[in-house]
């Protein structure tokens, strides 16, 4: 008995909790009265269910169902209190609402593309492509980010005539302590830190085909060195402050001047470099191994095989070395080209999943004007025009938004996402167009099943839908037959107008909740 009472109390609390939660949807000024009414009604519901005893499980379910209805009531009150929601609801089925929703989705997908760091990084690389003939040279058998070229080996190659390369550059990465020397133009200062500094040949950026932002003429006065910050280090350490150029810092015990910012495309080279220190001879005084970068000439490009080139080089003395050159910028297609390919595939596949026709338009006794036809086709074109960039940005969001998958999978994700979204997006575009009245472009409504499926060969059966403006009637066969293969439009003549005399008002009320009928 005690257990039953406890359960009854718990259920009552649950039901009151549901009402309380629903009440937060009600506009504040009406909330107190709304709660009072629903609590009172709940009391009567529970009384009616229980009689005089405690509620059984079925009674509780009934009372719970009653409380869930409070959410619909609260939502209605909320919507009716917001004119803009009613205005938007009134647009139900109109072409303007369709285009507005699509434009909203396009804006959302673009906004996500701008905000996600992965997508932003990919997009920032578009204007600063690395020279497609630049290769990273490593000892054969090594891969990844391990430095394998010693300064002696590089000097030995560089001094000989090159068969495959126009130019060769070298860099090695060292961790060096940085401290501001107080020469900041705007007086900004930051805490001392350790930087990954790449000591590199002067021709490194030239070999990579990179342009350096904010570059200032190199000053050799006083033997000061110039460093170029990587884009990410510039943002991380200096908050992307453009005035940092010209600042003197002490790096590894010597005074250097920040001369500019190198684009992040350079960071595709291994080493996770914060700053590039260009030196006349980067191999001088160097003992540790580093990286060699070369730019392929025409002969070298001919030797490329699947983004790689195998080289046998003369090392120090009479030694021979097997080397492997890998393209710095892999020959992957751009995101635009990839999207174009996926969209083309989707268009070719479209007939496999939906009919590409827009349905039969029977002869209209009122003669549809050219303006109306143009309006219809313009609407279709507008939907396609909005869908195209929306899918492009949405696919980019999926492919590059989640960097944990790695860039290698991004191409596959973008391709698959673009293809499927284009395919089903175009399917929706056609399906939506087929459900719109050819006169006013509103979606047809009030579907009615006509005929019986068992009598397919004796009589027509399918669905009939009506334009709320009273312009047309749409017949869609349940089973396409040789005499009725696709949907047909029937244009209603003015004698039907009495049925739709106050269609505009009716639609307004329907938008509010389907309460009034024609």
């Amino acid at each position: 008995m005690r257990l039953t009472l406890r359960s009854d109390w718990a259920n009552r609390q649950l039901q009151l909790g549901l009402l309380h939660m629903a009440s937060f949807l009600v506009p504040r000024q009406e909330r107190a009265e709304w709660r009072r009414e629903w609590r009172s009604e709940l009391w009567h519901v529970r009384q009616a269910c229980s009689g005089s005893g405690a509620l059984g499980s079925r009674d509780d379910q009934r009372a719970n169902g009653f409380c869930l209805g409070a959410f619909e009531d609260a939502l209605w009150l909320r919507r009716s209190g917001k004119p803009h929601v009613v205005w938007f609801a009134r647009m139900e089925g109109t072409p303007a609402r369709c285009l507005l929703v699509m434009a909203g989705m396009l804006a959302a997908s673009y906004a996500v593309a701008v905000l996600l760091p992965g997508v932003r990084a990919e997009r920032s690389l578009w204007p600063s492509k690395v020279n497609p003939n630049a290769v990273l040279i490593q000892q054969a058998g090594y891969s990844g980010s391990m430095p394998t070229v010693t300064p002696d080996e590089f000097r030995a190659w560089n001094e000989r005539r090159q068969k495959y390369f126009d130019s060769l550059a070298y860099y090695r990465v060292a961790q060096e302590q940085e401290s501001a020397s107080g020469g900041s133009p705007d007086g900004a200062s930051h805490a001392a830190s350790t930087w990954s500094v790449a000591h590199s040949s002067e021709n490194l950026f030239e070999s990579l085909g990179l342009t350096v932002q904010f570059a200032e003429p190199r000053s050799q006065a006083g033997g000061s060195y110039d460093v170029w910050l990587s884009e990410s280090a510039w943002k991380r350490l200096f908050g992307a402050d453009p005035h940092v150029v010209g600042t003197e810092v002490r790096l590894g015990g010597r005074s250097v001047r920040i001369a500019g910012v190198a684009p992040d495309a350079a960071l595709r080279l291994p080493g996770a470099v914060d700053a590039w220190l260009l030196e006349q001879d980067a191999t001088r005084e160097a003992k540790s191994a580093g990286y060699a970068v070369g730019r392929l000439n025409a002969e070298g490009q001919g030797e490329l095989w699947s983004s790689c080139i195998r080289i046998t080089a003369d090392g120090p003395g009479d030694s021979k070395q097997d080397l492997m050159g890998v393209l710095v910028e892999s020959s992957r297609p751009g995101t635009g080209a990839l999207y174009g390919f996926a969209a083309l595939l989707a268009l070719l596949s479209l007939p496999a999943i939906t009919a590409v026709s827009l349905g039969e338009y029977s002869a209209n006794p009122q003669k549809t004007s050219w303006g109306r036809k143009l309006y219809r086709w313009s609407f279709l074109a507008a939907k396609v025009a909005l869908l195209t960039p929306m899918v492009y940005f949405a696919a980019l969001d999926l492919a590059y938004g989640f960097t944990s998958f790695g860039r290698d999978h991004a191409i596959e994700i973008q391709l698959a996402a673009s293809f499927s979204m284009c395919l089903f997006g175009m399917r929706w575009v056609l399906k939506d167009q087929r459900r719109r009245c050819p006169v006013c472009l509103r979606c047809v409504a009030h579907p009615a099943q006509v005929g019986q499926a068992s009598r397919t060969f004796l009589a027509w059966n399918g669905t009939e839908m009506m334009c709320m403006g009273g312009h047309t009637l749409l017949h869609v066969p349940s089973l396409p037959t040789s005499w009725f293969s696709s949907q047909r439009w029937l244009y209603l003549d003015p004698s039907w107008a009495f049925l739709f005399a106050s269609s505009a008002t009716t639609m307004d009320h329907e938008a509010i909740g389907g309460f009034f009928s024609t």
Partner: protein, 105 residues
């Protein structure tokens, strides 16, 4: 008159229930078999369109019967006219809920 002709069957049923003397939300639910999520929003809409009006019962009456006070709904003159028109449109309405079936409170 345009509004009268465009009342749905559900709305007409609720008006008929009110006319029959079922004057608060739960009793309308019980009579019509409609769920709470339909009845209460419909009552709000009917009130918004001045077809019905609501009034809280006196607290003293509720206290005497040891229950919370109810919110009662009543047809307005416009509501009565609309109901008459709806009865012509839906002839079975009166058979579903005969007028004066419930004791008017």
């Amino acid at each position: 008159m345009a509004l009268e002709a465009r009342l749905t069957h559900t709305a007409a049923l609720i008006l008929q229930a009110l006319d029959a003397g079922y004057v608060y939300g739960f009793s309308i639910m019980e009579t019509t078999g409609l769920p709470s999520g339909t009845v209460y929003p419909a009552l709000r809409r009917l009130e918004q369109n001045d077809l019905i009006r609501s009034q809280w019962e006196k607290q003293s009456t509720a206290d005497e019967e040891q229950r919370p006070a109810r919110k009662y709904y009543k047809l307005t003159a416009a509501g009565t006219t609309t109901l008459e028109a709806s009865r012509r449109r839906y002839p079975l309405l009166e058979r579903l809920i005969p007028s004066g079936e419930a004791k008017t409170i």
